[in-house]
């Protein structure tokens, strides 16, 4: 097997704070005049990547996963030559196309057709190639009617489809994709995923960054998990995703300690400490079944008295789709003061109308009065919803049938209530 991408000891260092302050020449002059001999303030240094090495064989489809700020995007930017590494080297073979964004270089004033040419050329297509593929691109995008309209009149969805349509026709040897599937409606995501699967069939090397674990698992044969700028795990997709998911929460799915979860944001005056899934009798609930009740208990620790906070929970599907968002603020609840110390809130759900599957909870704690986020944890814990005979039938109802269900019934009274249609025996024959 020939190697398509070789990455050796790649490191990238960013100097924080140094940038904004130097963009004005004046500031530098002022500093020089004020204290000509003083040394510059030491810059804060961030290693976005540290000694990263791996190889990708031709035709391999590799998923890169990790939390926000782990260094995934920096890695992709170096691989696509947008930015240069501080040390280490990268070798790639063949034509490389990188999609860090859909519709890079689109210009508002230009028409859809003109933007196809512009975007295609920037992504590395020759004009002749675009000429040949134009019809297919327009067809794929589904915006035929507006192809000669300036894209400033397009909806964001149309823009996205047009951008992806161009990208889908690139035919590179190496394709680098960042999270472009995270946007767009479900039908479009499906289309993109199947386009990516075609790429995989075509023997192309693909590097794919996504938070959408289902997509990574479907598309990639190998996973690389990056944490804090280093490779944490590199191996078969399934194993890597499992290990990555396990890092979000403790193994005990009913009572989740989240003190150790990394990748949390916020100022920290008040923090979530634990999430428990309880029954209405407040016993630990180890199995949660669809349609049954559930109490989500959020434990917090306030390091100082907090005025008017809002506690929130967001629930995501394993495909990364936001299922629901609930918070004390949305419910109009006013919490005048949370005294310093530990405590908890219960979110009581009478009927958990989720279809079976794994769901992730993101937790939020922010202020209703000032612009401050005290604590934010993405995908802090997961919740496995088990099957139940929700419609009272013995049919197996799982995630293939959607994310949610509603209390519902079918009425069959209307069948055969209208005038009967004469059916001649000849027509049946």
């Amino acid at each position: 097997m020939t190697e398509s991408i070789t990455v050796e000891n790649l490191s990238k260092r960013y100097e924080l704070g140094a940038l904004q302050e130097e963009t004005q020449l004046r500031d530098q002059l002022v500093r020089l005049l004020r204290a000509p001999f003083r040394k510059r303030a030491p810059k804060e240094i961030l290693w976005a990547l540290r000694e990263v090495s791996f190889k990708v064989d031709e035709g391999e489809v590799v998923g890169i996963i990790g939390r926000n700020g782990a260094g995934k995007s920096t890695l992709l930017k170096i691989l696509s030559k947008i930015t240069y590494p501080t040390s280490g080297r990268v070798r790639t073979r063949g034509r490389v196309a990188s999609l860090l964004e859909v519709g890079t270089g689109f210009h508002e004033e230009l028409t859809g057709r003109e933007n196809i040419y512009l975007n295609g050329s920037i992504l590395g297509m020759k004009k002749k190639e675009v000429d040949v593929k134009l019809d297919a691109i327009v067809e794929f995008s589904g915006v035929q009617r507006f192809i000669d309209t300036p894209i400033k009149r397009y909806s964001s969805g149309m823009r996205l489809r047009l951008g992806f349509a161009v990208a889908a026709h690139l035919e590179p040897d190496v394709l680098i994709v960042d999270e472009v599937l995270a946007v767009g409606d479900a039908a479009f995501q499906k289309k993109c995923i199947s386009a990516m699967q075609d790429l995989r069939g075509g023997g192309r090397t693909v590097l794919f960054v996504s938070h959408n674990m289902a997509a990574v698992e479907n598309l990639c044969s190998r996973g690389i998990w990056i944490a804090n700028g280093e490779i944490r795990l590199d191996g078969p997709t399934h194993e890597v995703i499992e290990a990555y998911m396990a890092s979000f929460a403790s193994a005990d799915s009913a009572s989740n300690e989240i003190t150790g979860v990394d990748g949390r944001r916020g100022s920290g005056e008040i923090l979530y400490t634990r999430v428990e899934f309880l029954s209405t009798e407040r016993d630990l609930q180890t199995v949660t079944r669809c349609g049954k009740s559930l109490v989500i208990r959020l434990h917090y620790r306030a390091n100082e008295p907090i005025e008017r906070p809002s506690f929130g929970v967001r629930m995501y599907s394993d495909m990364g789709t936001l299922v629901t968002d609930s918070s004390t603020w949305l419910h109009g609840l006013d919490i005048p003061l949370v005294p310093a110390g530990d405590g908890y809130l219960d979110l009581e759900i009478d009927s958990l109308n989720l279809l079976p599957g794994r769901y992730y909870l993101s937790l939020w704690l922010d202020s209703c009065v000032i612009r401050r986020i005290y604590d934010a944890l993405e995908h802090a814990v997961h919740l496995d919803v088990e099957e139940a005979p929700i419609y009272g039938s013995s049919r197996r109802i799982d995630s293939r049938y959607g994310l949610v269900f509603f209390p519902q019934r079918w009425r069959l009274d209307g069948i055969g209530s209208g005038p009967t249609l004469e059916v001649s025996p000849a027509a049946n024959a």
Binding site: I82, T104, L110, L118, S121, I122
Partner: protein, 259 residues
Amino acid sequence: MGEWFSEIWRSREILYFLAWRDVKVRYKQAVLGVAWAVLQPLFTMVTFTFFFGRLAGIPSDGVPYPLFSYSALLLWTYFSVTLAQVGNSLINNSSLITKIYFPRVLLPAAAAFGGLLDLVVGSVFLIGMLFYYHVTPRWTMLLSPVFVAQTVLLVMGVGMLLAALNVRYRDVKYTIPFLTQIGLFVTPIIYPVTFLPHRFQAWLALNPMTGVTEGFRACLFGGHVDWSVLVCSWIVTLLLLALGSLHFRSAERVFADIV
């Protein structure tokens, strides 16, 4: 350096599309469209003719003053307008720089080439003026594109330097209009070089646009040519081009990080 040029050559279609985009976008939703390319130097010429030609009585080497000033303004307008666009080309396209790789120099180059359309339209008007004033055709007129080419090289040289500096220091953005405003007066546009006292003439020759303007006029109208001014102008142009591209090359590695 060789690799740099071959990569630019391979990506020449991007250059074309970027320049095409700039041109297209410039005149979209402008009722007068490309007529602006003529109107700008035309009105400047009319103003100059009135104030400097008529009222101040500045000489024009025997050429009708409107023709004298318009011919110089044609190149100067290209230089000053395009220099601003080239100088801002990187920061105006920061979303491209941070999202996709292509040779960065294509951005200033596209701005420099995109500006040529205006120059061509303005030249058509100049040819009309040549007929109107019954200027005798001479073979040296065929050499005038040499000075257009020199202006493009000059814009690229200075422009690459400014564009690269602009990424780090936004002060450059404010410096460019200021520079071109002064340039209008230290270039023999309103007046012939001979109008200045002799001791200033040598200093004026250090401004490369002096040689460009003098050479361009000499091609069109004939007359005395000071070769030392032209040689000096080419040397300065090539030095600026070398300086600009060397600085650009060394700075482009960090564009995406700091733009």
